[in-house]
C-alpha cells in the first residue's frame, strides 16, 4: 500500500482510525462527531467501527468538551476533541489558556496532558460569519501549547498521528479550504515531525514563508513567478509552535529575500513573529526588509467580500516585486 490518493479530510480520518486502533487510551469526542461523522466528516465511520465509548457526541458546550478532556487526560487517556469551527472554540479559551496549557507547569511536571484539540480554521470556503477565523495566534501566544497546521494530506496524516502520541497538548489547526483536494499519501515514509518546517519548492531569488491554508497560495505564486523568470522558494512552517528557526532561516539566507504569507490579520500575528525572528537572525544575509502579505486588520469579511481579505497570487507577487531588486 505504499501510496494512496487521499483528500486531507480522508487522511485525517485515517489518522484517527489508526490511532484508535493502535492505542486503547485514545478517545474522540465533540459536537456531531458520532453517527454524523462531524460536519466535515473527519470522524466518519469511527463510532460504527470503534463503538460509542471511543468516539462520541457531547452536549453542545466547548468549554465542557475541553474541560472534560483535561480530566480524562489527567486520568490516563489521550482525548482528541473537535471544535466544530475556529470561532466556536472561543468558549473553551479559559480551559485552554488556564488549564490545558498550564497544568504541566502548575504541577511541576507531575501532570502532563496528552490531548489534541482539532480546530478547522481559516477562510476560502465562502463561510458565513464566525466560521472563518484564523485563530492560531491566540494559541501560539499561550506558552504550553504546541500548534500545528498541515498543508498536505500526507502531513495531515502524520502530524495528527504524532500530535495524538505527543505527551503535550497540541492545538491541531486544519485549513478547511484544503480538506477536499486529493494528493498522494505515502504510508511508508513518515514526514518530519512536529517542530520541523519543510521546503516545499526550491528557488533561488526569494523565499515565501507560509503555513496551513497559505501554502497552496504561495506555491501558486511561485509557479506564476517562474513563468516570469523569477525563482521563488516556498517554505511550509507546518509547526507554528515549536518554530523551526533553523530550516526557515537557512532558506532565507540562501535567497537573501523573504515574504511571509498568512491569512490572519497581520497586527500582532504569527506572521509578525516570523518576520521578527527572521530579521533578528538573518539581518546580514538580507537584501531587503522582510515583507508580509497577511489579512487586513478587520473582522473576517462576508463570503462575497472574502477575496479582498485573503492573500492571493497577485498580492504576493507585488510584495516580491517590492524586495529592492534594483540593488542587484
Amino acid at each position: 500500500m505504499a501510496t494512496e490518493k487521499l483528500s486531507m479530510a480522508q487522511a485525517l480520518n485515517r489518522a484517527l482510525r489508526d490511532s484508535l486502533a493502535e492505542d486503547p487510551s485514545v478517545y474522540v469526542f465533540g459536537e456531531d462527531v458520532g453517527p454524523l461523522g462531524g460536519v466535515f466528516r473527519i470522524t466518519d465511520g469511527l463510532t460504527a467501527e470503534f463503538g460509542e465509548d471511543r468516539c462520541f457526541d457531547t452536549p453542545l458546550a466547548e468549554s465542557g468538551i475541553v474541560g472534560m478532556a483535561v480530566g480524562m487526560a489527567m486520568n490516563g487517556m489521550r482525548p482528541v476533541v473537535e471544535m466544530q469551527f475556529d470561532a466556536f472554540a472561543y468558549p473553551a479559551f479559559e480551559q485552554i489558556a488556564s488549564h490545558v496549557a498550564k497544568t504541566r507547569n502548575r504541577t511541576r511536571g507531575k501532570v502532563g496532558l496528552p490531548m489534541v484539540i482539532r480546530v478547522p480554521f481559516a477562510g476560502g470556503i465562502g463561510g458565513v460569519e464566525h466560521h472563518c477565523d484564523s485563530s492560531e495566534a491566540y494559541y501560539a501566544h499561550t506558552p504550553g501549547l504546541k500548534v500545528v497546521t498541515p498543508a498536505t494530506p500526507e502531513d495531515a496524516y502524520y502530524l495528527l498521528r504524532e500530535a495524538i502520541a505527543s505527551p503535550d497538548p497540541v492545538v491541531f489547526m486544519e485549513p478547511k479550504k484544503l480538506y477536499w483536494a486529493k494528493e498522494e499519501v505515502d504510508f511508508d515514509r513518515p514526514v518530519p515531525g512536529i517542530g520541523k518546517a519543510v521546503v516545499r519548492r526550491e528557488g533561488t531569488d526569494a523565499t515565501l514563508i507560509a503555513y496551513g491554508p497559505s501554502v497552496s497560495t504561495a506555491l501558486e505564486a511561485a509557479e506564476a513567478a517562474a513563468q516570469e523568470g523569477r525563482s521563488l522558494q516556498v517554505v511550509d512552517v507546518r509547526s507554528v509552535v515549536p518554530f523551526d528557526d533553523e530550516t526557515v532561516c537557512a532558506a532565507v539566507r540562501s535567497t537573501g529575500r523573504a515574504v511571509v504569507v498568512a491569512e490572519a490579520s497581520g497586527y500582532a500575528s504569527v506572521a509578525s513573529e516570523i518576520v521578527a525572528r527572521v530579521t533578528e537572525r538573518c539581518f546580514h544575509s538580507l537584501a531587503a526588509p522582510v515583507r508580509r502579505v497577511t489579512g487586513f486588520d478587520i473582522p473576517f469579511p462576508p463570503p462575497k467580500l472574502e477575496r479582498f481579505q485573503l492573500p492571493g497570487v497577485d498580492r504576493i507577487l507585488d510584495a516580491v516585486d517590492d524586495l529592492q531588486w534594483e540593488d542587484q
Partner: protein, 361 residues
C-alpha cells in the same frame, strides 16, 4: 413527574445535631458511629488549627495570602472523609484544610501561597487535583476523571468542590450537564458560605436554593447544615455511595458561613456588619461536635488533649516548613512547560543562565 420530584432537595438543610449539639431525629439519615465522629472531630480540630496557623503566617509575611475556611471546617472534613483512597478530590483555593485532611503534607499544599511554585504537591500521590483558582473550571476536570474511570470499569468517585459564587459560572452548568448526560460518578459539593468576596448570595442567585439547580440537569440535589459535621459526613457519604453505585452525579449544597474576610487583603466591614456575623459564632462546627461527643462520653479529657497535641504538631510542621526559605532556581522555569523544552525555551534558559552568571548569582 414523581421521579423528577425526587431530584429536589429537602425543604430545610438536613441536620443531625442542632446548634446546641443535641441530636435531631427528623431525618432518615443515621448518625455516623462514634469512631467515625471522633475521626471527624480530630479532623475538625486540625482543620481549624491549619486555618488559624496559615492566617498567622500571612500576618508574619511568610505567605502571600490565605483564603481561610475558618468556620467551614465541617465541610472541609466531610469532603475528605467521605472518600475512599482511590477516589479523587477537586479542591478550590479555599479548601486547603480539605486537601490536608485527605493526607497531603500541609507544607507542600502551602507552596502555592508561599510562592515557591504553583501546585506544590503531586496530585497522583493522594488523588487530589491542584487547588483551582479559576472558578468552576475544575468541576469539568472532575467530570473527565470520573468519566475516564467509568469507561475503564473502575468504581472511582470524584468529589468536586466549589463555592456559592462559582455556581454562577458557565462551567458549573456545563459540568453538571456533562456529568448527568454521561452518568459520571461525581459529587458536586457546593459550600455556600453566603459570600463571593463581597457579593452576598441574594445577588448571586434567585434560585430557591443552590441545590435546586440540580433538577434542571436531572441531578439529585440535597441540602445540609454545613456547620453540622455529622450531617455533612452522612449526607456526603450517601451521595458518594449513590454515585459509586451508578446513580449518576449528585449535587450537595452545604449552608455555612465565611466567618472571616475573603482573604487578609479583603475588608469585610465594607459590606457586612458584625450583627450579621455574631449568630454564626454560636453555630461553630467544632463546638457543636465537641458538646455532643462529650455528652456521649466519647470525647474524654485525655482524648481531647491528644487531639489538641496532634493539631499543634501539624501547626509546628507548617511553621517550620513555611519559615524555611528555599532558594528559587530560575532554570526550573523552563523545565515544565513541555515534556521536552523547545529549541526556543532552551535558548531562553541559556540566556537567563548567562545573565545570572554575569550578575555573579
Amino acid at each position: 413527574m414523581a421521579e423528577h420530584q425526587g431530584l429536589l432537595p429537602s425543604e430545610q438543610p438536613i441536620q443531625l445535631l442542632d446548634e446546641s449539639g443535641t441530636p435531631v431525629d427528623d431525618t432518615d439519615l443515621r448518625m455516623p458511629d462514634s469512631q467515625r465522629l471522633l475521626e471527624a472531630y480530630t479532623s475538625l480540630v486540625i482543620g481549624r488549627r491549619v486555618n488559624d496557623q496559615a492566617s498567622a503566617l500571612v500576618r508574619q509575611g511568610r505567605l502571600a495570602v490565605y483564603p481561610s475556611s475558618h468556620g467551614q471546617e465541617a465541610c472541609q472534613t466531610g469532603a475528605a472523609l467521605a472518600l475512599a483512597d482511590g477516589d479523587w478530590l477537586f479542591p478550590t483555593y479555599r479548601d486547603t484544610a480539605a486537601v490536608i485532611a485527605r493526607g497531603v503534607d500541609p507544607v507542600e499544599v502551602l507552596t502555592l501561597l508561599k510562592g515557591d511554585w504553583h501546585a506544590g504537591y503531586d496530585p497522583y500521590a493522594h488523588n487530589v487535583a491542584p487547588q483551582a483558582t479559576p472558578l468552576a473550571t475544575q468541576l469539568l476536570h472532575g467530570v473527565g476523571v470520573a468519566h475516564a474511570a467509568r469507561l475503564r470499569g473502575e468504581d472511582t468517585v470524584v468529589m468536586a468542590l466549589c463555592g456559592d459564587g462559582a455556581t454562577s459560572e458557565g462551567d458549573f452548568h456545563e459540568a453538571l450537564n456533562f456529568a448527568a448526560v454521561f452518568k459520571a460518578p461525581v459529587v458536586f459539593f457546593v459550600q455556600n458560605n453566603e459570600y463571593a468576596i463581597s457579593v452576598p448570595l441574594a445577588k448571586q442567585s434567585a434560585a430557591p436554593s443552590l441545590a435546586h439547580k440540580g433538577v434542571g440537569y436531572g441531578v439529585n440535589g440535597e441540602r445540609v447544615d454545613g456547620n453540622d459535621a455529622a450531617a455533612v459526613l452522612a449526607v456526603l457519604a450517601r451521595a458518594v455511595e449513590a454515585a459509586r453505585s451508578g446513580e449518576g452525579p449528585q449535587l450537595v449544597e452545604a449552608h455555612t458561613y465565611r466567618m472571616q474576610a475573603h482573604t487578609n487583603a479583603d475588608d469585610a466591614s465594607r459590606y457586612r456588619s458584625e450583627d450579621e456575623v455574631d449568630p454564626w459564632v454560636a453555630r461553630d462546627p467544632l463546638l457543636r461536635m465537641e458538646t455532643y461527643l462529650k455528652k456521649k462520653r466519647v470525647l474524654t479529657k485525655a482524648r481531647q488533649a491528644e487531639i489538641t497535641e496532634k493539631a499543634e504538631q501539624v501547626a509546628a510542621h507548617m511553621r517550620e516548613g513555611v519559615n524555611r526559605d528555599i532558594e528559587p532556581d530560575g532554570a526550573e522555569l523552563f523545565r515544565h512547560v513541555f515534556a521536552e523544552p523547545t529549541p526556543q525555551l532552551t535558548e531562553q534558559a541559556a540566556f537567563l543562565a548567562d545573565e545570572l552568571s554575569r550578575e555573579g548569582n
